[in-house]
């Protein structure tokens, strides 16, 4: 079930109503049942996988806590269990295909038949959200191992893993924050409810009106990578940068909004990532829950930054490559991760050089960084780097990625016209203008109202009926801008 589907628009109000009507003690059970229903509405049998993994991790958490002298063994068992489950469902076919490719390339040299060594693909269907809940389980058992108190109530633990607003594509929750919210009796707060509703509507707009309208442009652009003109290649790459942001942050907004309406506060995943002034800054703003997970459970255990420079850089590269591979079982994700890892190493080296050198050049650069021009230049440079990274991320093959990059940086023609029709077909510009207006109202509306004369201020401060009208108008606008066919969420594939 997609958050942007009509099914969800029927499912969620029903759950919401039942949730607030039920006494507190039944609410978590209701949420758990609803979450399993939400999950199993796709492929029912994968509900069993989620159930079994939940049960095992619950038992492992308890075992780690109870048998402290064997805790390390239990922890390793848990990590192996979770990672092997993820590996089986996500990487089996990737490993087989890579192996077969390697066999195909060496078989003429070894003079053996390719067919004798190559393995058949298993065509394992990836369970939705497995990458997210497996990371949550690992976080749980690691933290229990480190001394945090385990969750003793099985329903609460199951709900932590299955909670439908964050089940499929995060944010990756921390159980310490979530368990507190599950235990506290939640009171209906109209302010929270309204904030949640607005987040839900905002996410819906980002997904339906922005990301789904950009999707055909991206698809068309990357499908004709070899014939793209310079302008087309830039449009396709920029469209993907906007699409992936709107798609993923839209999903997160909808998840956070739904959770907030149920009285839960989920962590935010994005903080205006495209205004980042460095790659380090970008990773503090993009998919925050994943980057902080990678930092806490991979980069720091590897040694983090408290080691030699070479080791630190190696740790960064390993973390980012594995982070890339987490996104999908394909070499282009590995390249994307390595690209970002290299970028982060360069970024750190540059900072180190700037800090420790006292030449005229570094003096000038330091001064430049403190000016607005320097800020804008850093922002642009970071954005172009991220954009090039997105090309590797989106392209299905390396050849496709290189074709788009060739079009961007060494074009043969300005435009080959492959995107003209698809751009005309989708109301992308009006949708972005509407979103810009919405952001302006949200960010500066209150300040503007404050400066108005009393009567005008009173009129401009909407009461409940007026707010209902505004929300309805926002919803109608979103639906009006929706393209005829919806695209699946990009992060569902991960």
């Amino acid at each position: 079930m997609l958050f942007s589907s009509l099914s969800y628009l029927l499912f969620f109000p029903a759950v919401l109503l039942a949730f607030w009507l039920l006494p507190h003690r039944f609410r978590n059970v209701l949420l758990l049942v609803s979450s399993y229903y939400f999950y199993m509405s796709w492929i029912p049998v994968y509900g069993i996988l989620l159930f079994v993994l939940t049960l095992l991790n619950y038992a492992l958490g308890a075992a780690i806590d109870r048998h402290r002298h064997h805790a390390r063994a239990w922890l390793m068992t848990g990590i192996v269990l979770n990672l092997s489950t993820l590996a089986y469902f996500k990487y089996t076919d990737f490993a087989i295909a890579s192996f077969n490719k390697a066999v195909a390339s060496v078989s003429p040299i070894l003079k053996i038949s390719e067919a004798t060594l190559s393995l058949p693909l298993q065509h394992v269907l990836l369970p939705l959200g497995i990458s997210f809940f497996v990371f949550e389980f690992i976080h749980y058992i690691v933290d229990v191992y480190k001394g945090s108190k385990p969750i003793t109530n099985y329903v609460n633990f199951s709900l932590f893993a299955a909670f439908f607003p964050s089940q499929i594509a995060g944010p990756i929750k921390r159980y310490q924050d979530f368990i507190k919210q599950m235990q506290e009796p939640r009171r209906f707060l109209s302010a929270n409810f309204e904030r949640g509703l607005l987040l839900l509507l905002q996410g819906l707009f980002k997904k339906i009106a922005l990301a789904d309208n950009l999707s055909p442009v991206v698809n068309q652009g990357f499908a004709h990578a070899a014939t793209l003109g310079g302008a087309d290649a830039w449009v396709a790459a920029l469209a993907f940068a906007a699409q992936i942001y709107c798609d993923f942050s839209g999903y997160t907004d909808m998840g956070r909004g739904s959770a907030l309406m149920l009285g839960f506060d989920l962590p935010d995943n994005f903080n205006l990532p495209y205004i980042a002034r460095s790659l380090t800054d970008f990773w503090k703003r993009w998919h925050i829950s994943l980057s902080s997970w990678l930092r806490d459970y991979l980069y720091i255990p590897l040694g983090g930054s408290k080691c030699s420079l070479v080791r630190r850089h190696a740790n960064l590269l390993i973390t980012m490559v594995l982070g890339g591979l987490w996104h999908g079982a394909s070499w282009h994700f590995v390249v994307w991760g390595a690209f970002h890892g290299t970028g982060l190493i360069l970024c750190h080296s540059y900072d180190h050089w700037l800090k420790n050198s006292s030449s005229t050049v570094t003096g000038f650069l330091r001064q430049l960084h403190s000016t607005a021009t320097g800020g804008v230049l850093s922002m642009l440079l970071t954005f172009v780097f991220v954009l090039v990274g997105w090309v590797f991320f989106r392209a299905e093959t390396m050849a496709e990625a290189l074709s788009v990059l060739y079009g961007m940086f060494a074009p043969q023609v300005v435009t080959s016209g492959v995107l003209a029709e698809v751009l005309a077909q989708h109301p992308i510009v009006p949708a972005f203008l509407a979103y810009l207006l919405y952001r302006l109202v949200c960010d500066y509306g209150a300040a503007v109202i404050k400066g108005l004369p009393a009567v005008a201020a009173q009129f401009c401060t909407p009461r409940v009926p007026a707010r209902v009208v505004v929300y309805l108008a926002f919803f109608v606008m979103t639906m009006a801008l929706a393209p005829s066919s919806a695209s699946p969420f990009i992060y569902f594939a991960f």
């Binding site: 009509l6 499912f11 509405s41 005309a424 109301p427 009461r463 409940v464 108008a473 109608v476 801008l481």
Partner: protein
């Protein structure tokens, strides 16, 4: 122990006054909130309509109910179509997919009227790129004099509706040549399909034994008596003028469909997307059924085509058929109905109307499924196919000398002036 002293008379009066002020303030607050809500509602409607107008969304509705023909395009409405490619245009004041025209024919100008369904109407491509418009350019260049093409195509129109459109609208423009586009499987639109959709409401011409036609509008009258028909009539103004209305109707439709799907599903875990491998519904499913149906009902089609051609000729216009290809929505292969082609040619010969068979011409290029270069996802012509049709049709009209000679044209224009 604290002893409560009874409140004084003046305190009581003050409390009462305060309480009454509080109630009044509350009710003023409520009235203000309600008034503000109404104001915001009005403002939202105006702003959304303006936004949708500029964003070109919510204006795909293009037909209104008509008690004679069943339905017809709105006059002067701007239409934007985004489902198959992009098309945005304003219907002219006669409700035609044409630039504005005058009833009186400009001196020395040839007029060609083209009749047919959505493949003629061509809302999927820019107006200047559809074959009707392209034909005017080609013939004007080839003949060295202005040629006006008048697009009378309307979505899902049958031959009977084309004939009625000629009688009620096109006749007054005094066309020199009338082209009846007869696409493959046109016969499937001969009889009305009973359903709630206005685009399937059709009057029918039944042939009398003496060859004359009997007009039967039972289906049209029935539709206007039905709930769906009354709804169409009731909300016609909103359908024509409000983009918000169109979006709300679309939303209602989507929700109803979803509810129906959920109600019909056998499993509670049936939220998955509809089965994409399910074949799309088609009027007539097999080649053999199509042939049988054509043979059975051709007497009706024959009578309608002959009557239409005779009336055009009586009005001084030449008449021809353009046989255009159709693709099935499932596999995107060309639909076969050779029986229909043969019968059409027989009918055309009997009334001395030439036939340009572009179905055969396209089929001779290969019978492979279309890859989206010639036909859109819903089977309409792409710009490439429009250009191809315009080329072939232009050459055919010139070759067959279907436009009147120079002197005849001058005489015709003189008679208009008189």
């Amino acid at each position: 122990m604290a002893i409560e002293t009874p409140p004084k008379q003046s305190d009581r009066a003050r409390d009462l006054a305060q309480a009454s002020d509080g109630i009044k303030a509350k009710s003023v607050g409520k009235s203000f909130a309600l008034m503000q809500g109404l104001l915001y509602l009005g403002l939202s409607i105006v702003l959304l309509e303006a936004f949708f107008y500029f964003a070109q969304v919510g204006d795909s509705e293009h037909c209104m109910p008509d008690r004679k023909v069943g339905y017809k395009p709105f006059a002067g409405k701007r239409i934007t179509q985004r489902q198959e490619g992009f098309g945005s245009y304003k219907l002219n004041s006669f409700g035609m997919q044409n630039d504005e025209i005058t009833i009186a024919k400009p001196a020395g100008t040839y007029r060609i009227a083209v009749f047919g369904d959505s493949c003629v109407e061509s809302i999927q491509v820019a107006r200047e790129k559809n074959y009707v418009s392209q034909l005017a350019d080609r013939l004007s260049r080839a003949l060295g004099k202005p040629v006006q093409t008048l697009n009378f195509g309307v979505s899902n129109y049958s031959v009977a509706q084309d004939y009625l459109r000629y009688q009620t609208l096109a006749k007054q423009f005094k066309p020199d040549l009338v082209i009846q586009v007869y696409r493959v499987d046109e016969i499937s639109k001969l009889l009305p399909t009973p359903c709630d959709s206005m685009l399937f409401v059709k009057p029918v011409f039944f042939p009398n034994p003496d060859g004359t036609l009997k007009f039967d509008d039972t289906c049209v009258a029935g539709f206007f008596r039905s709930k769906a028909g009354k709804y169409m009539l009731q909300y016609n103004w909103l359908r024509q003028n409000s983009r918000i209305w169109e979006i709300l109707v679309g939303l209602r439709h989507s929700f109803t469909t979803e509810f129906d799907r959920l109600k019909a599903s056998k499993s509670i875990f049936n939220f998955a997307e509809p089965n994409p491998s399910a074949p799309p519904l088609q009027a007539i499913s097999s080649d053999q059924t199509r042939t049988n149906y054509t043979n059975c009902y051709w007497y009706m089609m024959d009578a309608q085509l002959k009557a239409f051609a005779r009336e055009c000729k009586a009005d001084g216009a030449r008449f021809m058929f353009l046989r255009t290809p159709t693709v099935s929505l499932g596999d995107h292969k060309l639909v076969k109905n050779y029986a229909e082609t043969a019968l059409l040619k027989t009918t055309a010969a009997s009334i001395e109307a030439p036939v340009l068979d572009l179905d055969q011409a396209l089929r001779s290029e290969g019978d492979t499924p279309d890859d989206g270069t010639k036909f859109s996802s819903k089977g309409h012509f792409t710009v490439r196919l429009h250009t191809w049709v315009a080329d072939k049709l232009g050459a055919f009209i010139k070759e067959q000398d279907l436009l009147p000679s120079k002197s005849a044209a001058i005489n015709a224009s003189r008679s208009v002036v008189k």
